[in-house]
């Protein structure tokens, strides 16, 4: 088990290294910082001293190592758009807002999708199943930004129940969380349903019934415990894509999280901040997948002892 986990952590770190390399290369592709940072009428002397000062005269691999060394310490330079702000610090300041919204959306997804998927499998072909299918179809075919706008229109403008945008009380988070969660509920519920259908057909489910186990326990203990691996695998993707994919929704609802920062930084060609956001997203992705790997160990004894 320790071997399994150390291998997972090692491969995550390697992936992170590759990402830093890609981020570095993309920055190179986007043009020289000289053009971006110095005024058009800068003298050759100013340009030369700038190049020396920033280490741009060194070979690329040396520049990469410097970048990597600084990145490892969380130093991505200072923001260009928001002068005086440390790039990574600025991104991390916005992280709690993203985690709050994403956490709520994740919670909504799991709490709704799992029971829905299980019920759809147990009552296959019944009204719950059909209802869930329609719900999923709607959720998966609507773009989330469009859903967000519709939600604002209905619940904020028309009914006036919830605020249109911004961050503040809990009620501010409800609409954006629904807009993010709906798609994920659809995906997760469908996966849960198909995994459950498969497991419910297996002999050990029959044996549990033969033992006199109640139907409730057959479904929620014997079947779900084995079907859980499939939705769990998706949960890693779900958590990561909710946390990193809120870029659009944060913009629609003016939610001041990392996604909003990412959009603003890209608009302002603020490379240090863009780099910091990408690396922060990559770390979030990795952590959520590591958590899933850990959960495998809890759920599946074959991983634990294999």
């Amino acid at each position: 088990m320790l071997k399994y986990l150390s291998r997972r952590i090692a491969s995550s770190l390697f992936a992170l290294l590759v990402i830093t390399f890609i981020v570095f290369l993309l920055t190179q592709l986007s043009g020289s910082p000289v053009d971006a940072l110095l005024p058009d009428d800068a003298t050759q002397e100013q340009i030369d001293s700038f190049i020396r000062e920033w280490g741009l005269d060194k070979p690329l691999w040396q520049q990469y190592l410097t970048f990597l060394g600084n990145a490892a310490q969380g130093d991505f330079g200072t923001s260009l758009k928001w002068p005086g702000q440390d790039a990574m610090g600025f991104v991390l300041d916005r992280m709690p807002a993203t985690l709050e919204l994403g956490g709520l959306a994740i919670l909504m997804s799991v709490v709704i999708a799992l029971p829905l998927g299980v019920a759809a499998a147990v009552y296959k072909g019944g009204s719950i199943d059909n209802g869930a299918q329609i719900f999923a179809l709607v959720g998966q075919s609507m773009p989330s930004f469009w859903l967000g706008i519709i939600l604002i229109w209905v619940f904020s403008v028309w009914l006036g129940w919830l605020p249109t945008s911004g961050m503040g009380s809990f009620s501010h988070a409800i609409l954006p969380a629904i807009a993010i969660a709906w798609f994920q509920i659809s995906a997760l519920a469908r996966l849960t349903r198909s995994a459950m259908l498969e497991v419910l057909d297996v002999e050990y489910i029959k044996l549990a019934r033969v033992k006199g186990v109640s139907e409730w326990s057959v479904v929620w203990k014997h079947a779900l415990r084995n079907a859980a691996v499939v939705p769990l695998t998706y949960f890693g993707i779900l958590a990561a894509s909710i946390l990193t994919g809120s870029v659009v929704i944060e913009t629609v609802f003016s939610w001041p999280g990392m996604g909003w920062v990412a959009i603003e930084a890209i608009r302002g060609r603020d490379f240090p901040v863009v780099q910091a956001v990408i690396i922060a997203y990559a770390v979030i992705y990795m952590i959520s997948n590591l958590v899933v790997d850990l959960l495998y160990v809890v759920v599946d004894p074959r991983v634990r002892h294999g």
């Binding site: 029959k206 044996l207 006199g212 186990v213 415990r225 084995n226 759920v299 599946d300 004894p301």
Partner: protein, 330 residues
């Protein structure tokens, strides 16, 4: 063998199971009559699709939801009608009074729970007690089915055990609550021949210890001869012949039974090609007017194709019944 005039342990009368599909209705269990006494092993023999497993599942009322249902008949356990029990009453019968051993040891244990956990689950439902006692009883059950080092195995997961060992664990689950009846649905089909023999010997020993009745479902007449006291031969959802093992082996009354016995490979005796039964059973959706075996029967005459033969007493003493015009027509 026990032949008492008292209430039999299990008594099945006119049991009929209906499956309705878009293609029509058919009856995988069509008017079954049989009894099982304590300490007795009843063999249920037939080809795949003859309705053996459906019979087993209808006894514990676990037929596939929606698709199949019992339409008439009676199943009495020690005189108590099972078909009129409520769902929760029936759950108490399952595992405690009637236990089952399923076909495939590879998939009949839940991979996510330890062996001990799966045995104590049954105990907790039917004979609750403190955790440590339950564990002791689970170990005891494993010891009874001759699992080596049961104190150690009780904490194993199914994936850590061999096929034969797993089937023993399934056996341990079945006997853990000391049931009156065990239904064994082809329990040895997927085991090696040597493991199979050990397992059958074990079942026999357990029966001698506890006096439980066993319904042994198989397609293998060779096993039946060794293990069973009485036999029920099924063909196309009907019981075509029933009686004691001795009687049926010595003088099979139904041509189908005769053909099945002839198809058992023998170690001694004449060499040559193994006898087989030509053809295959009719599709379930076709309900022939006459004897369903007639198209494959060497002795069939025109009446066999047009009229269903009645069940008659083959030897005149009530110990041997058969549904065949050859017997009935005399």
């Amino acid at each position: 063998m026990t032949h008492t005039q008292e209430t039999p342990l299990l008594e099945v009368r006119d049991l009929r199971v209906e499956i309705s599909t878009k293609a029509g209705k058919f009856f995988p269990v069509n008017g079954h009559n049989f009894t099982l006494n304590s300490g007795e092993t009843l063999g249920v023999v037939g080809e795949s699709g003859s309705g053996k497993s459906m019979t087993a599942m209808s006894l514990v009322r676990l037929l596939p939801k929606h698709a199949a249902r019992v339409t008439s008949g009676s199943i009495k356990l020690e005189g108590r009608e099972l078909l009129s029990l409520s769902r929760s009453e029936m759950r108490k019968v399952r595992g405690r009074d009637i236990a089952m051993i399923l076909q495939d040891p590879q998939t009949s244990l839940n991979p996510s729970f330890t062996v001990g956990n799966q045995i104590t689950e049954a105990l907790r439902l039917h004979a609750p007690g403190p955790r440590s006692t339950l564990r002791e009883r689970a170990i005891e059950a494993l010891r009874k089915v001759k699992v080596a080092a049961p104190e150690h195995r009780v904490d194993s997961y199914p994936s850590q055990l061999s096929g034969g060992m797993r089937q023993r664990v399934v056996g341990a689950i079945a006997i853990s609550c000391a049931p009156k009846v065990i239904i064994a649905d082809e329990p040895t089909t997927s085991l090696d021949v040597t493991v199979q023999a050990q397992y059958l010997r074990l079942l026999k020993e357990l029966q001698e210890d506890t006096g439980m009745g066993i319904i042994f479902i198989t397609h293998d007449f060779g096993i039946v001869a060794n293990l069973c006291h009485r036999i029920v031969v099924m063909y196309f959802g009907r019981i075509v012949e029933s009686g004691t093992v001795e009687r049926i082996f010595a003088k099979p009354a139904h041509p189908y039974t005769e053909a099945l016995i002839a198809a058992v490979p023998k170690l001694h005796g004449h060499k040559g090609r193994l006898r087989t039964i030509p053809g295959s059973p009719p599709p379930q959706s076709e309900q022939p007017p006459g004897c369903p075996f007639a198209p494959r029967c060497e002795m069939a005459d025109t009446r066999c194709f047009t009229e269903l033969p009645p069940t008659v007493d083959a030897d005149g003493d009530g110990e041997h019944l058969a549904s065949c015009w050859r017997v009935a027509g005399q």
